[in-house]
Symmetry: C2
Subunit: 121 residues, 2 copies
């Protein structure tokens, strides 16, 4: 699975949320957050197409884009890479770390507790 860099990831997010969609539409949804020009978005779409992360179907003389890889799979790859690199492949230290560095709210902990109970069964 190809690695998807930061900027391209944001494009994917749009299309994971809703697809298929034309370049124009993608650009419109990204603009508020990023300020990217249409040209920039088109470049990113092209690169994602080239690496097979997107598929396109022609609608008239333009393309409609849709993801060709599942968000799940990409997220799995990314988080595995991080856990490998930072925590020697073990997930528990990650959670411990998040907790210690105050990145878990009360609600998070409650939810985790439920989740863990679920997993333990």
């Amino acid at each position: 699975m190809e690695r998807i860099p930061e900027a391209e990831w944001q494009v994917m997010e749009i299309l994971w949320a809703e697809s298929p969609m034309g370049a124009q539409d993608v650009a419109e949804r990204l603009a508020p957050g990023t300020g990217w020009s249409l040209a920039t978005v088109k470049t990113l779409l092209g690169r994602l197409l080239a690496k097979g992360a997107l598929a396109h179907e022609e609608e008239g003389r333009r393309y409609l884009y849709r993801p060709a890889v599942a968000r799940e799979a990409c997220v799995a790859g990314e988080s595995r890479r991080l856990v490998d690199r930072l925590f020697g492949g073990r997930a528990t230290p990650l959670v411990a770390h998040l907790a210690e560095s105050g990145q878990l709210s009360e609600a998070d902990i409650a939810e985790l507790s439920k989740l863990v109970k679920e997993l333990g069964k």
Copy 2:
């Protein structure tokens, strides 16, 4: 806090594990895993120095390098970035994801359970 790229991270790992240390020594420990030449390692050390991630003290006519930033802090930054990007800043879905994608062993879950219990108090 400056972002530390992949290759430089590996250099930091060496020095987080043991420091201070000369360039030669760092290179020797990296070589088995990476195959990098001494020149490459020196470049990375220089870049890390420039961005303030390392400090150096002169020992004779060479440098001894030591980390100038805590591993903890860097790890915090990296994992926060990931959690923000992939899970909208919420840690619970990360754990859920790790679990679902089979990246948590029995032992992990047991450990997590203990950890969560601890956190809940």
